[in-house]
């Protein structure tokens, strides 16, 4: 027996087994299987239309909200199958938060109310000023908005709005954070802030981020999954995917030969 110096293997937070997603008769995902360790960042990359967004929308059961859409297979969150029928998708979405491609704050609520929207819209009242401030600080937005908490979120810049949406997702204390191209509508400075933020958030959350930006995937993630035409071509440690990919298609994509 070797000495007990090896770190314990990271616990699996999310495991996907044989996931297939359909839009009507069209299959958007073919037999996807992978797992995400707790408190790590998985980047999902691939050309447009390869099923990246569909994949992460299956992880909080947002996919099935599209008329005619369905998913089969298993998605295990802490070992519990989200598609077993025993899981309530409304409860699930409080455990798996989501940030969308375009910032989508609620225009009828103030900045502060947006952060607490998960409580307010569910009819919960009470003073949650501390929660609001903590989430805005976590989202690196507090200093920029602390003097206009009651302003309309539409008065914020795009990057600020996106961080507001992240604060809103953090307020319901999810275990997993899904991000669907969160930086695609942001300028380089806002993008850099967002990446810094992701780096800090992974100490607490398990993050799955879809991105078109390969540098971003390389910088921000520990693991990378490459999708092509609805199939998971390759998944592994990010440095391995970018330096010694097993598949030639992955190599072609990460070296910029297509995509």
């Amino acid at each position: 027996m070797p000495a007990l110096v090896e770190p314990a293997p990271p616990r699996t937070k999310l495991a996907v087994e044989g996931l297939e997603a359909w839009f009507g008769a069209t299959r958007a995902l073919h037999q996807v299987s992978l797992s995400v360790p707790e408190r790590s960042v998985l980047a999902v990359i691939g050309p447009s239309g390869c099923g990246k967004s569909t994949f992460i929308r299956c992880l909080n059961r947002m996919h099935e909200l599209v008329p005619g859409a369905r998913a089969t297979g298993r998605v295990l969150l802490d070992g519990e199958d989200l598609y077993s029928g025993a899981v309530d998708p409304v409860e699930l979405r409080r455990r798996v938060g989501m940030v969308f491609q375009r910032p989508n704050p609620f225009p009828t609520l103030s900045v502060a109310e947006n952060v607490l929207a998960g409580f307010l819209l569910n009819g919960a009242h009470g003073d949650r000023r501390e929660v609001m401030e903590r989430c805005l600080r976590q989202a690196a937005l507090w200093d920029e908005v602390k003097d206009r908490l009651h302003a309309s979120p539409l008065s914020l810049s795009g990057g600020q709005q996106q961080r507001l949406c992240i604060a809103r997702a953090l307020a319901i204390e999810p275990e997993v954070l899904l991000m669907d191209e969160p930086a695609s509508a942001l300028d380089p400075i806002a993008t850099a802030k967002l990446e810094e933020l992701i780096h800090e958030l992974k100490a607490r959350y398990t993050i799955v981020i879809v991105t078109h930006n390969l540098q971003q995937a390389a910088r921000a993630s520990e693991y990378t999954a490459f999708f092509y035409l609805g199939e998971l071509v390759e998944v592994g440690r990010t440095d391995q995917i970018f330096t010694t990919p097993r598949s030639t298609r992955t190599e072609d994509y990460v070296t910029g030969k297509f995509g």
Binding site: P67, V90, R94, F106, P107, L121
Partner: protein
Amino acid sequence: MSGRRARQARDLAMTLLCGAAVVVALAPLASLLWLVIARGLPGLSPTFFVARPAPVGEPGGGVGNAIVGTLFMVGLASLIAVPIGIGAGVFLAERGDGPLGRAVRFTADVLGGVPSIVVGIVAYAVLVIPMRRFSALAGGLALAILMVPTLARASEEFVRLVPSALREASLALGVPAWRTSLRVVLRTALGGIVTAALLAVARAAGETAPLLFTALNNQYWNVRPDQPTASLTVQIFNYAISPYPQWHAQAWSAALVLLLLVGLLNLLARLASRDRVREGGA
């Protein structure tokens, strides 16, 4: 160079034609306003707004009871029509893609095209005959039937304008679909829906035909739903067809009051929609 001349000439001709079309379109409106103001204004006095009608030959008299009656019946109609109309609109926008939605939409469109006098007959058959009396309730019901289809289709349009990104944002926070519809979608569309409701109310306030044989008319004050009730429109009608010049003058003044009331409602609707635009553009 001749090509350029010809082009400029065509440009001028089109500009003149369009300008003439604007004048022709605005002339009836301007003459209508002018006629109503010129003939109605002399009869207006503070007592005209608060007094009830006076018999022929007696000086004074007003349309106070008719103003109250119109507001009362439009209020009753709104109580019935606003929840049903908005509810149907939200249903059509959120769940209206199936056969039931198509049926509701078709019904609303057909109902919206029914002449208002026919709606009055229906209210007469449904309420006036069984109750054996004309009543504000029957008038309110007739107006409500007229308001529901416009409200439903307008609400549907405004709810459909709410970006699906907001719906998704709410659902992704673990907010159930029904709460999302109510607290995000409906709340965001509210400015537009309020505008639509005010316009529907303004339209109902100007209706005469459905009230003729439902609410009838009343020379006295009434705010009981089971009694005949005066309205500005029917009062104008009665005055206008009378043989007395004094009542004709009162009809013009009452028409001016009605115009002011409807204009005020339209103004409120514009203000409501402007607030919405400001909210969205800030």
